[in-house]
Symmetry: C2
């Protein structure tokens, strides 16, 4: 029996988003991006006491989960929420908590 036959696609997607949000730094980044539309890696790096490379990894995780996207704006990279997926996450969590 496959796990995927019992656990719905929605549950799996919600879990994927939850996992991406499951670290204080990533929660901070997403909340920042949901307030102001975009920001640069350096802006975050200035605020948080972690190595740039560590931040980069967290950003990559958020990107892999589909919650953010980066746009090259040399010499920097502008990060924004991926609105489409953000809305999906929002909906999934709304349904999840309201059931």
């Amino acid at each position: 029996m496959e796990v995927g036959t019992v656990i719905t696609e929605q549950q799996q997607r919600a879990a994927r988003y939850a996992k991406a949000l499951g670290h204080p730094v990533r929660m901070y980044v997403i909340e920042l991006l949901s307030k102001q539309s975009c920001c640069y890696s350096g802006d975050i790096s200035d605020e948080l006491p972690i190595a740039k490379s560590t931040l980069s990894q967290h950003l990559k995780e958020l990107k892999d989960a589909g919650l953010i996207q980066g746009e090259i704006e040399l010499p920097r990279i502008k990060y924004c929420l991926n609105r489409e997926n953000w809305n999906e996450a929002k909906l999934l969590f709304k349904q999840f908590f309201d059931v």
Copy 2:
């Protein structure tokens, strides 16, 4: 500089809940419990194709995160949502997504 001086208490708590929800099995369990008030470990074990010990670990994580609580009802254990923390999580995520 401490991470805790930049990242709010709320963000850290939200991240903690998100992390607990960041696995399909745990998402499934919580959704089950939010629909029907309580259930037994065996009920879940019958549905999901994972070892009982694995399920037990997931339940422990949810318990440690404060999302569920177990009540002994021998020979079984009745698991229910921890309503207080569930409501907190609900609120945190609501605020998080609505910002």
